[in-house]
Symmetry: C2
Subunit: 307 residues, 2 copies
């Protein structure tokens, strides 16, 4: 009773970016509108990155222009550098998600610079932030790196020591980029981060690649984290890893929290309808279980003894 979490829908960015065939801008806009109508109050609608490197999200400025004004919607955009952050602000963005990696090889692969350079960029962007604009700091590879393996929690906490004071009001998201975090590791780092920075709002970004998306979210919730990223239909699989699913599915988190009486503001049936269409996008790799389970819920199993 009274407990609530905020689920941040990242499907239009993290979910779509891995899809090969270009998703028409009108489809993206309709997706954002329907997610919003299903109760998602914050949606990462795209990113400001090189359109040459990531043509799928080249229309983010237009999606932002068309969706940014939906009543009550916080339209978040991902930015990897100060320059892209300024571009996003100029395009009207009011909630930036700045991403850098704890792990050096991942940061170099992801944003083409060292973590130190990214940290300096974050400092500059934070200093340039206009009034009325909000920022989140996404710490990618906070638990595990595709190149370097397990990330020492001390390294993540040390980076937080440097960056949290830069912009004390920023939300900080601990990201399980590879999906290889385990519930115990998530619980430990979540508890340590919350204890060390009691004034900071923390978020957790789960991938379900190894089947631990909901388990890790629940572990973070138990330790006090109240903001969770998720992607409609679990979109977000890596195009170079067939069958490997991506972000934890928004509808699975909505279901889990609803079952245990935690408010999300999400209308599950509306969300599931959106998720079914999102899962059917050409080129999409869908994850999550709740869509199929709810479709089957009225058809009961037969006479075989079940336990």
């Amino acid at each position: 009773m009274g407990q609530a979490v905020e689920i941040v829908e990242v499907g239009p960015r993290d979910g779509l970016q891995g899809i090969g065939p270009f998703v028409p801008t009108a489809t993206k806009i309709a997706l954002v509108e329907r997610l919003h109508a299903a109760g998602l109050a914050r949606i990462e609608i795209g990113s400001f990155v090189s359109a040459a490197a990531l043509p799928q999200l080249g229309d983010t400025p237009e999606v932002l222009r068309r969706c940014g004004g939906l009543p009550g919607l916080v339209a978040q955009v991902l930015v990897p550098t100060e320059r892209r952050g300024r571009e996003a602000l100029a395009a009207g963005a009011r909630f930036l998600a700045y991403v850098l990696s704890v792990s050096e090889p991942h940061n170099r692969s992801n944003v083409r610079r060292s973590p130190d350079e990214s940290a300096e960029d974050y400092r500059r962007l934070a200093a340039a932030l206009p009034a009325g604009t909000r920022m989140r700091l996404n710490l990618a590879t906070a638990f595990d790196c595709p190149f370097a393996g397990r990330v020492d929690p001390a390294a993540t906490l040390a980076l937080l020591d440097r960056l949290v004071p830069v912009l004390p009001g920023a939300e900080v998201c601990l990201c399980d980029t590879t999906g290889r975090a385990d519930p115990d590791g998530v619980a430990t780092l979540s508890a340590a981060a919350l204890a060390r920075f009691p004034g900071t709002r923390f978020a957790f970004h789960a991938h379900d690649t190894y089947g631990l998306g909901t388990a890790n979210v629940h572990a973070a919730f138990e330790r006090g984290i109240r903001v969770f990223d998720a992607s409609v239909a679990g979109l977000g699989g890596c195009p170079f890893a067939p069958g490997a699913t991506g972000n934890v599915a928004t509808e699975d988190l909505a279901w889990m929290f609803a079952r245990r009486g935690v408010q999300t503001g999400i209308a599950l049936e509306r969300l599931v309808a959106v998720a079914r269409d999102a899962a059917a996008l050409p080129g999409a790799t869908a994850g999550g279980r709740v869509r199929d389970a709810l479709a089957a819920a009225d058809r009961l199993c037969g006479a075989a003894p079940t336990v």
Copy 2:
């Protein structure tokens, strides 16, 4: 350090029973042998039920005869009545899993009698158990019933009050038959059961139908449960519910516990090889994530910013 759990492989029973095309007996035997070779020390190899109602498991006596003697293997069989339990014993079974449901409509649907009748049957079977034979009590619908919805934890505890004293050495398994339990509910009931019956070994049987399989197992583990059922490749989807997956996948649990340093005795790579073949059985509905994730693990994602 030093923590360990026992994972009970139920794929050859719970996983196969929902498959339409008959799985040849030789395939079942090879599956059990390979699972055993991958480190599964207890395997539910079948059930003693009406072969007319469940032809897929009609060859359980032969599977038991061929696999019961594998060195170190505990070959568990499911029995729904005293009569079937006696049949299983006569066929050489030395570890019975007796199933009854907390929920009356599910018990009537599943084993064609009232929970009281099933409880009396359990009493009789327990009294007839020869020396050297072990028993587990599976409490189906311990959390939720497909017909009646949520099950009051007090009802499950009340049934335990009646049945635990019947055979104090029996293992008791709390079964999330529908997959609709949530981690908080699992934690609460697990803690209550362990506190009430400190001398009893409890197990937890998870279904991943709604994506909460690993989350629920982890919640039970955190409260002290140390025995978990799982099905190779997540087999066990209901044939009347297309797309709705079944038991939590053994390889996903093996992965989760390995990541957090809890011993299972399972050789993950060998298990995954078995799981790939099991997922390819004609008529099978597979679940789980770890198979695909490990296959893709060496192929890294591209240049798109990832968090």
